[in-house]
Symmetry: C2
Subunit: 194 residues, 2 copies
């Protein structure tokens, strides 16, 4: 049992290492040559992985421009928040935990490349897709957290909480203040609205 | 003064008529030949307007697929809601008024063409742009309604109310029930969350 857990842990670590190696190589090449001029072949060569491995982690090249670790983490946080918290307190706690995760150098460089690409249609579509998949995971987490029967479509609290999170995320990404500062203002405004 | 008002009224009516003529001709042609196969020249010929006139109303051909009358109307409704309503009551009242506007046959046909185009990048970009411009107008309406100093960036109630409206709109467009039914469930859920 312990051996199995170790193995699973080693596999998870290997996955993270491979993923990060691909992303680092990709960002370096985008910075050196530009996004459009970089081919998947160039990335796999620099990262020292196979093309098959690349496509297992990044079915589309655009995906190398994004990291979805945070969004996966958010749904988890909603489920693990102290059980006596109500829905708004859960949102408060989960976003506070999320925003404690420091932005890495890789995140910052990735964001800079995305900004250069501006309103490139592929990037826009990918962002829309990520928003969509985050929304589904987060909604499901709230459905479980609030003990709602998944077949009951009349209780729309999970959808509303997702909408609130998306509006907070938009606010945070559009401001120069620290995420935590914006988050606190945003929550104070939400509370004064209620 | 009265003559001027009449003239302004006549001009506004003429604008609406021209706009509608272009949209009707465009939708008919999209249905007959497909969106990509329809040229701006074909649309202006059928609508009996000049190309210059077409581009004054629709700077991009994609725009013929959308009607933004409702969104303009929403910001106005927020400003004209009974003054004793608080922010959530205003949202309730304004969306109730908005959803009273019947969906026209043209709206339904336009929506069907958009659905056929699926996740076409141009349509997606246009939707994102419309969301963005609706958000700005609606936020400004709430800033005025709530008497917030526009220079004060710490009060984020307007942004939150915009986020709430967008989440309601997403819910309405994704459901088979009547908009009013979804709206009422959504507001009941919002109230139970607060």
């Amino acid at each position: 049992m312990e051996a199995m857990t170790n193995q699973t842990g080693a596999r998870a670590r290997h996955k993270t290492t491979t993923r990060r190696a691909i992303q680092t190589a990709a960002i370096e090449l985008y910075e050196e040559r530009g996004y459009d001029e970089t081919k998947v072949e160039d990335i796999v060569e620099r990262a020292g992985v196979s093309q098959r491995s690349f496509f297992r982690y990044f079915p589309y090249k655009e995906l190398t421009l994004f990291s979805d670790d945070h969004t996966e983490h958010l749904a988890e946080l909603v489920l693990t928040a102290p059980s006596h918290f109500n829905a708004i307190e859960t949102l408060d706690w989960a976003t506070a935990q999320l925003f404690l995760i420091p932005t890495t150098e890789l995140d910052r460089r990735r964001q800079a490349i995305r900004n250069q690409l501006g309103d490139d249609a592929r990037v826009q579509r990918q962002l829309a897709y990520l928003h969509e998949s985050l929304s589904i995971r987060l909604r499901d987490a709230y459905v479980r957290r609030l003990g709602i029967d998944p077949a009951d479509t009349s209780d729309l609290r999970p959808q509303i909480l997702v909408g609130l999170y998306l509006s907070l995320a938009t606010e945070v990404s559009g401001r120069s203040q620290s995420p935590e500062e914006t988050r606190q203002r945003w929550l104070a405004s939400l509370r004064s609205l209620l």
